[in-house]
Subunit: 300 residues, 2 copies
């Protein structure tokens, strides 16, 4: 199955950014196209500003628009939109379109909150659980960004029959203010620290591929985006979108440029891998009760 | 905390092998010493032969012996022994000794069974659950080999307060019979397939380090060991014992030689890592019920 990962920068406005996204989609004949997290706008969660909620006002039109794109291009399209559900209730939601039809949606379940990523201000944690989405190219385990760090999310998708894990993502390095090198920023911005963070991000998802015998597709933003509040300097999104196969074998990895990265993914490979590495066979489900607790500090 | 990983070959007998283990332990002044899986004997699970159950007959003496070693060397020592519990009931058990005292034991929970690794014949799956072991160097999350592939096991240890994950291991490539290159063997033995397998094994555990903000210590066997039944050719254990830090940063990795690999591990680093990458904060425990099921094929 030919898959395209659209790794792009933000072009200063919704219109210009979408125009570039459409250009990039038009370059590929992939059947499955995956866009990055919140691809219509800048990554606005760098500050807490009620004005940004306006970005979610057009959600019905946004859904209709991307449905139309998936119809015109005759593709399965994984999008990432800012969903207004009612007044004062918003989600970070991946909508999946299949040749013009909304196949399903996933509301980001794990919501981060750390310097530069103030998502808990904007997004109510998802209430749809971890449900794969059935499409004409297969059953897609769509998760979003912060979910990447949670083996639980990947495993549940696998146990619900997902054939592939897909993560639209927005992650990068905090830019250091030129005149105010505080300790956190300085520490985070050595080349060694940058590499450590990026490799951690790659490793944990490669681990999901191995543990679940599933391919993993992750699409990240690139480019530098300012913090509109001026409190932080901004984020430099590190790109490096990637695909691993069901044994964690590297199939593709981008650099930090814009790219339409095309990869052939064999969804049937998982079945063969799982026959000889039958991890699902031996799970000790009766001994996993602790996983449903916040912390297991009581003695048994 | 100075830690030593003892990666060694099998020397043809229990006596000779233990003598070499003691030599290697004596070379280090580490406070924590970790031995490989079933380090007293060959990896006998290559065939199903009731004669090998005799290896477990001396378990009480074995425990006393390694307790004495830990006392003499003034160390915390992680061993991996074949435990006879009663007639017809055996476990693959990691015993942890602390300056002469048995600090605790972990009975391997996930038991493999695939060509060359017929462990289900020998080992009853552990019934002690995933309980870290308290020692003078910290709370150790000791797991064994096949457990490596299970994010559940690592997570539970973390949720029970483990400060480090430790895996005694026996994993390698199946040797191809010289006169009988069957398809499985040929496929498994290309250099590319070997690398893919080894990297998968490393990646999934590196992922545990990242997801849990914990260092991971894994000690694997080296050397070629024949299948005594003659049905398979044998296994070439691939070594590559390693340590990753709590962000998944590589701290040490061995090659395929015998080695006493010493690594300084800072158990306090986890606390700092988890403050800025607070994955435990955001787990959606109310949505993880599927993890306690074999497969979640019923519709919600």
């Amino acid at each position: 199955m030919k898959t395209a990962l659209i790794q792009q920068r933000y072009y200063g406005s919704k219109e210009a950014t979408i125009a570039r996204t459409l250009e990039m989609i038009a370059q590929t004949d992939a059947k499955l196209v995956v866009l990055q997290e919140l691809h219509q706008s800048e990554y606005f969660c760098q500050s807490e500003d009620t004005a940004f909620f306006d970005y979610a006002e057009d959600i019905e039109n946004d859904i209709a628009f991307w449905a139309e794109v998936s119809k015109k291009e005759q593709i399965v399209l994984v999008t990432s939109l800012f969903e207004k559900r009612t007044e004062g209730l918003y989600h970070n939601t991946a909508y999946v379109f299949d040749h013009g039809v909304l196949a399903g949606k996933y509301r980001k379940m794990h919501i981060p909150d750390d310097p530069g990523y103030y998502e808990k201000f904007y997004f109510t944690p998802g209430d749809l659980g971890f449900e794969p989405i059935d499409t004409s190219v297969g059953r897609l385990g769509v998760l979003v960004c912060w979910d990447q760090w949670y083996p639980e999310a990947a495993r549940i998708m696998a146990l619900k029959g997902a054939q592939i894990l897909i993560y639209p993502t927005a992650i990068g390095y905090l830019e250091c203010p030129k005149d105010r090198l505080d300790e956190l920023c300085e520490k985070e911005n050595t080349p060694e620290e940058k590499q450590k963070m990026r490799e951690a991000w790659i490793s944990v998802q490669r681990g999901h591929a191995v543990a679940n015998g599933l391919p993993v597709v992750t699409v990240n933003r690139i480019g530098s985006e300012k913090d509109s509040s001026g409190i932080l300097e901004g984020i430099h999104f590190w790109g490096h979108s990637f695909v691993f196969g069901p044994q964690g074998e590297p199939l593709a990895m981008a650099e930090e440029e814009e790219t339409v990265m095309e990869v052939d993914i064999d969804l049937k490979a998982s079945g063969e891998v799982r026959k000889i590495w039958p991890f699902l066979r031996d799970r000790r489900i009766e001994s996993y009760t602790c996983l449903q607790k916040r912390f297991c500090d009581e003695k048994p």
